[in-house]
């Protein structure tokens, strides 16, 4: 085998290492996470109406109202309740990287969701225990890290109903 071939094979091996580092490194080094995008809409812990496609919630359905809320549980479980009188709503909870951890579609006018932190270790165990006695919430979503966000989609075709929904969402908190 010539020396040139050995150099080229070494180059390919180094290329393999660069490939692995690049693929595994992107989620670690990026600032452009979906959580940052949602948090950029306004105060965290508060729902914000979304009506532009240039947010992380791309491909918005023109038939639906969309609202999003970024939260930071900071080691403590939390939750929220919403009263939405609409023909249909969907709620989805994502972790900070935009991976779905909970999603549901419904029509009931009242909805309660507990956000349970799943941080490993003693702090996480305590937080989970704290979240247990909460029979007031209909559902619980386990969030793998402290940060995450909620996307709410509401179908509300009637003007009067729509105004009420918009009013509710403007004031709603998620954590």
């Amino acid at each position: 085998m010539s020396r040139f071939t050995i150099w080229m094979l070494s180059g390919l091996c180094l290329g393999g290492i660069i490939h692995i580092v690049a693929v595994l490194g992107i989620p670690i080094v990026t600032d452009n996470t979906p959580w940052n995008g949602i948090a950029g809409l306004g105060r965290t812990g508060q729902f914000h109406l979304v009506n532009r496609d240039d947010t992380p919630i791309g491909g918005l359905d023109p038939a639906m109202l969309h609202a999003a809320c970024a939260f930071d549980l900071a080691g403590e479980s939390s939750g929220f309740e919403l009263n939405i009188e609409a023909s249909l709503w969907t709620v989805s909870v994502f972790d900070s990287l935009g991976r779905s951890v909970f999603a549901l579609a419904g029509r009931e006018p009242h909805f309660g969701l507990a956000l349970v932190t799943a941080v490993e270790g003693e702090q996480g165990d305590e937080a989970e225990k704290a979240a247990e006695p909460r029979p007031d919430k209909d559902f619980a979503a386990k969030v793998p890290d402290d940060k995450g966000f909620i996307v709410l989609r509401v179908y509300s075709p009637y003007d009067q109903e729509r105004d009420k929904v918009l009013d509710t969402l403007k004031k709603a908190r998620c954590a």
Binding site: M8, G11, I26, T30, N32, P34, D61, F94, R99
Partner: protein, 193 residues
């Protein structure tokens, strides 16, 4: 001299092969297998990134949030029944059955992503407001000028795609059971000369 030449070439090969293959692999392995059913492509959720670093990298790189599986499914189509892409100035007719869902919406998306201000309220149709044929099927005109009955306003001067969103659908539980005949077809009609 030869040592420097070999070092430069090997480094260039390493950088090119490493980054190019990473870029390609994230794009193609990260997307997974979007399910194609006839003219429609189901936008597969890339929420589940566990065990697939390419998918995790794509998720962060695109920074987008799709419809989660528990909410529903999204299908898109960019071509008519003959396989030709939707063209500005041509009329199309979407016809056939609609999959079972608590609510579905059909929308037209201009290729450049900018919504036209004309006929903004006719960019979409919703299952609760459409008129059904007597045989329980749906027929929708997709055209840039107004039509009677179910009508979706197509952009007058550019290509477009059609999205079908199914909310609260039992199909989300088992999309592999989806058949071509479960979805409507889109046929090309007359084109402006």
């Amino acid at each position: 001299m030869q040592l420097i030449r070999n070092l430069v070439l090997a480094t260039a090969l390493a950088l090119f092969s490493g980054f190019a293959s990473a870029h390609y692999a994230i794009d193609y392995l990260g997307k997974g297998s979007n399910l194609r059913t006839g003219q429609w492509t189901r936008l597969e959720s890339i929420e589940n990134t566990a065990g697939n670093p390419y998918r995790a990298a794509l998720k962060v790189r695109t920074s987008g949030v799709a419809l989660a599986p528990g909410e529903g499914l999204i299908f898109t189509s960019d071509r008519d029944e003959s396989g030709a892409r939707f063209k500005a100035g041509c009329d199309y007719r979407l016809a056939g059955p609609m999959p079972k869902a608590t609510l579905w919406s059909l929308s037209v998306n201009p290729e450049n992503g900018q919504a036209t201000t004309a006929f903004a309220d006719r960019r979409y149709l919703v299952s609760r407001t459409v008129q059904w044929e007597s045989d329980g099927r749906l027929s929708v005109a997709i055209a840039s000028d107004a039509r009677a009955g179910n009508w979706l306003a197509a952009p007058p001067a550019e290509g477009f795609t059609v999205s079908l969103r199914l909310y609260d659908t039992p199909l989300a539980l088992n999309t592999t059971e989806m058949k071509i005949e479960d979805l409507p077809t889109i046929e090309k009609g007359a084109c402006a000369s």
